[in-house]
Amino acid sequence: MRPPSPSIPEKKFLYDALKQSLRLDGRDMLDFRTPTFTFGPELGWVECAMGKTRVIAQLDAKMVKPLPERPFEGIITIHSEISPMASPDYEPGRPSEEEVTLTRMLDKVLRRSDTIDKESLCILAGQRVWQLRLTVHVLTDAGNILDCSCLAGIVAFKHFRKPEVEVIGDEVIVHSPSERAPISLAIHHTPFCVTFAFFPDALTRPVVDPSLLEQRLSAGLMSIAMNAQREICVLHKAGGVPTAPEEVLRLINVTSILVKDLDKRVEARLLEDWEGRTVEVR
């Protein structure tokens, strides 16, 4: 179901405010909402909140037989569904346009950009590999669930620890976390997604991390997934707003600054959580 369009006063007010570079929540045009992370008791469960937008990502692993054409690689599946819990505008069962974009972007950013080394997930070639299943639940949609979901996903990957496995000949022994410490996943790089919203008026500059109203009234969106090493993983532009190449390059530079900041924040938070969990046995 298409969400109801905002009323005429809301539209007029938002466009007028953006012409004066004022945003409704008091942020600057290029300000990202500060994300806060809450980690669950299990490893690989994280709730990411950006303002009022909240997303939960959960990662679990099980051992399966690998695909016959790729006997040395593990399998990663990402499952995301937006339920009506996120907003009354989403209908159960029928994937809306936003949901399709979310699934495709999560797939591109987290799976196809080779964030996880799939060969490290192999236990016994041709017989046993790890299958990682990432489930993303959108709790509240207050704009920009895409960035929030990508962030929750990558932090879940970094937070997760897989059980240590010993292979003797053809026998596979899985050690429980109490016997041997679980090991973290082999992550090649950490991509973060930043979304920009463009508006119909040519003089209005694009806005970072749009809120729900800004997203509804935007003429087009551009999402850039980049890692802290300034490598672009995904550039997704939807809506057809004509944009000059210099503008795209300027926004890429803005993204690289925001991503560096996000990376530091994520690392600091993960370290803080890990220190709370480490138990020293003397």
Partner: protein, 234 residues
């Protein structure tokens, strides 16, 4: 005061019992006397009653609006339906507004409304299984009295308890903001508040203050709001 959950029985007994929002009296066919019919809560919240125990009600906070008659609400027109309009007031069913339900409207002289216009209207009919109906004039006097189309300004969503607080003349927020800059506001019982000021940044200030004072979003009190206002440049 005790907290009740939906379905819990409430010990409300009085000769002239008046049940407010959130309470329902189950009618039973076998017991003829109204006194012995049980009263149950239909919403979660704090159970309150008047001093002489004749009036009982449940006070809770939620964001989803359940229409009740004679409540003023703010709605967005989503389409036409025959002679009238289909209006979204945030309830489970869209409400219907007759084209002639305005002050001084005749078949030849109807107000010009478009899809997407904002309206301040009164719920005239509300049952849980039917579409609610709206009217844009006062029930007794049949005069507009502030109802009708709301032009310009901005509408924001807040929790139902916040809109009840804003309607209370003793609440501090609107007079405090009104003392800083000229302000016009219409509060709907469905959690929508329309504000209009002369400058964009003033409207943004009002929106941020209402969101800050909302019990759902923190519940700032008066001193903190004053500090918050001094940080923004008005």
């Amino acid at each position: 005061m005790s907290i009740v959950l939906p379905g819990e029985q409430v010990p409300a007994q009085h000769v002239n019992l008046k049940l407010g929002p959130g309470l329902l009296q189950l009618s039973s066919e076998t017991q003829q006397q109204a006194k012995s019919a049980p009263v149950i809560a239909t919403r979660s919240g704090v159970l309150n009653h008047s001093a002489n125990k004749s009036k009982w009600w449940v006070e809770g906070n939620s964001r989803r609006y359940v229409p009740a008659p004679q409540e003023s609400v703010i709605g967005v027109i989503t389409g036409r339906s025959g002679e009238g309009w289909r209006v979204d007031i945030g309830s489970a069913h869209p409400a219907s507004l007759d084209g002639l339900a305005f002050e001084g409207a005749t078949k030849r002289n109807k107000p010009s409304l478009k899809v997407g216009s904002l309206l301040y209207a009164r719920v005239s009919l509300a049952h849980k299984d039917m579409e609610p109906e709206l009217e844009c004039f006062d029930a007794q006097t049949h005069k507009a009295d502030g109802f009708g189309e709301l032009k310009d300004g901005f509408v924001l969503q807040c929790s139902l308890q916040m809109s009840r607080l804003l309607l209370d003349p003793k609440h501090f927020l609107l007079p405090l903001l009104g003392s800083r800059f000229p302000l016009e506001a219409a509060v709907g019982m469905n959690g929508k508040v329309w504000v209009s000021t002369k400058e964009t940044k003033h409207t943004i200030t009002v929106v941020r203050c209402i969101e800050a004072v909302d019990p759902d979003g923190g519940g700032m009190d008066e001193t903190n709001v004053k500090k918050f206002l001094s940080k923004l440049d008005i």
